[in-house]
């Protein structure tokens, strides 16, 4: 063996050794990092879990204090605290690595409890009294909260004994994911949650809306297709089956025109254009917003709408979104709204959304205001300049509608819409026009 060969072997061995050392360093480094990340993740999960147990515990305490309090101001304070605690609990729940179907009822309880307490706090802030039903409902909710607290305590004991959540979340399958399994095992899904119907967010009543705006006659698929062909004259129309949603049954159609394709949904009841969306793209803007509004109105007439006006339009990425509403005797009826999307490149309508219209449209009976526009006007902030005013019907925050005076106002270059109840003069809502990269938004 020559000296050169020996040297080569030596160097190769050294290289291999160096490689192994580097791999070892790399491996150890990676292992330490993974351990570090796991620890941080476990800390986050544990933090969320403990925050959840704290929130539930405080909710339970506040509910019991509420039940024995005789002062409305104090009751209101407890209710507001519970709303805040429910928001926190909901955030913590959504950060825990548990399969969604295991959390359905808990989510619903937390969200509805928050919504219900919010509606009661609103009632008290307006000087109204709580009914005996309200108080009884709170007692029922307290019982559920006590049960949840007990179940969470079992899980707390498990985690306190050294259980690592992060070591047990590798498999999202509930049967194999131990933390979901532990949750299912210890958290009792048989807890009875009361059905809550109230004027607030997440009320069960919002899930039982009725469709009022469709004519009481049914169309066949052939009739629906003829209607689509009359609306989309240059498009190819093909049947795409039918759908049976909770509120609407529809005939569906695929429509194509050159490289653009769309999906049209026609209600079986009333043969009404419920929705249309297409993948149209925009490369060049040739139409103005005013021209697009005119084209949107023409399309709406073709779709069978009568007595309407466009109340809001905004342009974004070459598309104009027009909000078109029903107008009855000069009164703007905002709940009966259709949204139309027009492509500024060719002026084609490339989107239509009319579920609100289909849900709400009907002739309103009492649209005479008890309070005059002048009476409402004095309530608008003195620092604002009133630009226009209209009488309108707006949706109530959760259920129902309100007849209101709408004042479009200007203050410090910001545009606001102020709504004052035309019967009670209560300030109902304030919307601010916000300029964003995505056009003008009302927030």
């Amino acid at each position: 063996m020559t000296k050169a060969t020996k040297l080569t072997i030596f160097v190769c061995s050294l290289a291999t050794f160096a490689g192994l050392v580097a791999m070892l360093v790399f491996g150890l480094n990676s292992f330490n990092q993974v351990q570090n990340y796991k620890q941080q993740l476990n800390n986050t999960y544990q933090n969320n879990f403990y925050c959840l147990t704290d929130s539930v515990s405080n909710i339970e305490n506040d509910l019991s204090k509420f039940s024995i309090s005789s002062d409305d101001k104090l009751k209101e304070r407890y209710l507001i605290e519970i709303v805040s605690l429910c928001q926190g609990a909901q955030n913590n729940l959504s950060s825990l690595p548990i399969e969604h179907n295991s959390l359905l009822n808990t989510y619903k309880f937390v969200n509805q409890l928050g919504g219900y307490c919010y509606s009661l706090s609103q009632k008290l802030s307006l000087g109204k009294e709580l009914t005996t039903d309200d108080e009884a409902q709170i007692d029922d909710l307290h019982e559920s909260a006590v049960k949840i607290k007990q179940d969470l305590t079992k899980l707390s004991n498990l985690i306190n004994s050294g259980y690592s959540i992060v070591d047990n979340i590798q498999n999202p399958d509930v049967s194999k994911n131990n933390f979901s399994g532990e949750w299912n095992g210890m958290y009792d899904d048989t807890i009875e949650y009361p059905t809550l119907i109230y004027d607030g967010p997440f009320s069960d009543s919002t899930e039982n809306k009725t469709v009022k705006g469709l004519e009481n006659k049914y169309c066949t698929e052939t009739e629906a297709k003829l209607f689509v062909e009359s609306l989309f004259k240059d498009w190819q129309v093909e049947s795409a089956g039918e759908s049976a949603g909770k509120d609407f049954e529809t005939w569906n159609f695929n429509v194509t025109k050159k490289e653009t394709s769309g999906f049209v949904q026609i209600t079986k009841k009333g043969c009404f254009l419920l929705q249309f969306s297409s993948d149209a793209l925009n490369n060049e803007q040739t139409k103005t917003i005013d021209e697009c509004e005119t084209l949107a109105k023409q399309f709406a007439v073709g779709a069978g709408l009568k007595s309407f006006d466009i109340v809001w339009s905004t342009e974004c990425d070459g598309f104009v979104y027009c909000n078109l509403v029903y107008v009855q005797d000069g009164v703007i009826v905002y709940p009966d709204m259709v949204k139309i999307k027009v492509n500024t490149q060719d002026g084609n309508v490339c989107g239509w959304e009319a579920r609100s219209y289909a849900f709400n449209h009907k002739k309103r009976i009492d649209i005479t205001p008890q309070k005059s526009q002048q009476q409402a006007k004095v309530l608008v902030d003195k620092n604002m300049t009133i630009l226009t005013n209209k009488l309108c019907i707006i949706p109530a925050e959760y259920v129902g509608e309100n007849l209101a005076w709408e004042f479009k106002c200007l203050m410090n270059d910001d545009v606001f819409y102020v709504y004052i109840d035309a019967n009670t003069l209560q300030e109902l809502n304030i919307m601010k026009v916000v300029q964003t990269n995505d056009g003008l938004l009302l927030m």
Partner: protein, 226 residues
């Protein structure tokens, strides 16, 4: 000697290469994206709640920054030696014991929501018909409105195990214009899914639970269910 020198360079080269690999890998592991939270009306509610608890505010906690709230803020500012301008800036927020990191731009809220929604639509449904992409966005928004899910778009999207594309990291792909358009339509109220809360691809879905849901409509490869 020449061979020795070459060999040494070779060894050093390997060591240097491996060191660079380890270093680069560490950097890639350490880097992360920090998303700034955006202002929501709940911050106004927080202001109202705090002022109400401290006796400055007697109106309802409704998230609307109306004249009553403004008057309460001015009263609070006067009492605490702050500029009494009725604006909840950084100093007033600090005195209230709350953070207003994202209060400067409501437009940011909508941009973040649109971007997140577009990312999720692109990750979950690129290649699906446009209406199917809008429907995915609508499902996310339907979940936000439902009592059975988190109440924010990010909460719904990042809910553990809710979306395959979030679990496997495809959520970080940059969305195309079609996904943005679909997200914007969904935010504007388009919902071809008729209020669906779930969707699945029958060819790939493994959860037995999801098959028990009532299917409302099928668009492309996805069945949308309630």
């Amino acid at each position: 000697m020449k061979v020795f020198q070459k060999s040494m360079f070779f060894v050093l080269g390997i060591v240097a290469f491996l060191s660079v690999c380890v270093f680069t890998f560490n950097i890639s592991l350490d880097s992360n994206l920090v998303a700034e939270a955006a202002l929501t009306s709940s911050q106004v509610k927080t202001v109202q709640t705090k002022l109400k608890n401290w006796g400055y505010y007697s109106g309802s906690v409704d998230g609307i920054y109306g004249p009553k709230t403004k008057a309460a803020v001015i009263s609070f500012q006067k009492k605490n030696g702050l500029t009494a301008d009725g604006i909840v800036g950084a100093k007033t927020a600090a005195a209230l014991g709350m953070s207003l990191k994202s209060s400067s731009a409501t437009s940011k809220t909508s941009n973040n929501d649109l971007y997140l929604l577009a990312k999720c639509i692109y990750a979950e449904a690129r290649g699906e018909p446009y209406a199917g992409q809008v429907a995915i966005g609508a499902v996310i928004l339907n979940r936000v409105a439902s009592s059975k899910f988190p109440n924010t778009i990010s909460g719904v999207i990042y809910q553990p195990y809710a979306f395959t594309a979030v679990n496997d990291g495809q959520i970080n792909l940059e969305p195309n214009q079609t996904a943005y358009n679909a997200a914007r339509d969904a935010l504007n109220g388009w919902d071809p899914s008729y209020g669906a809360l779930y969707y699945y691809n029958p060819k790939t879905a493994t959860s037995s639970w999801i098959w028990s849901r009532t299917v409302v409509v099928t668009i492309g490869n996805h069945k949308f269910a309630i």
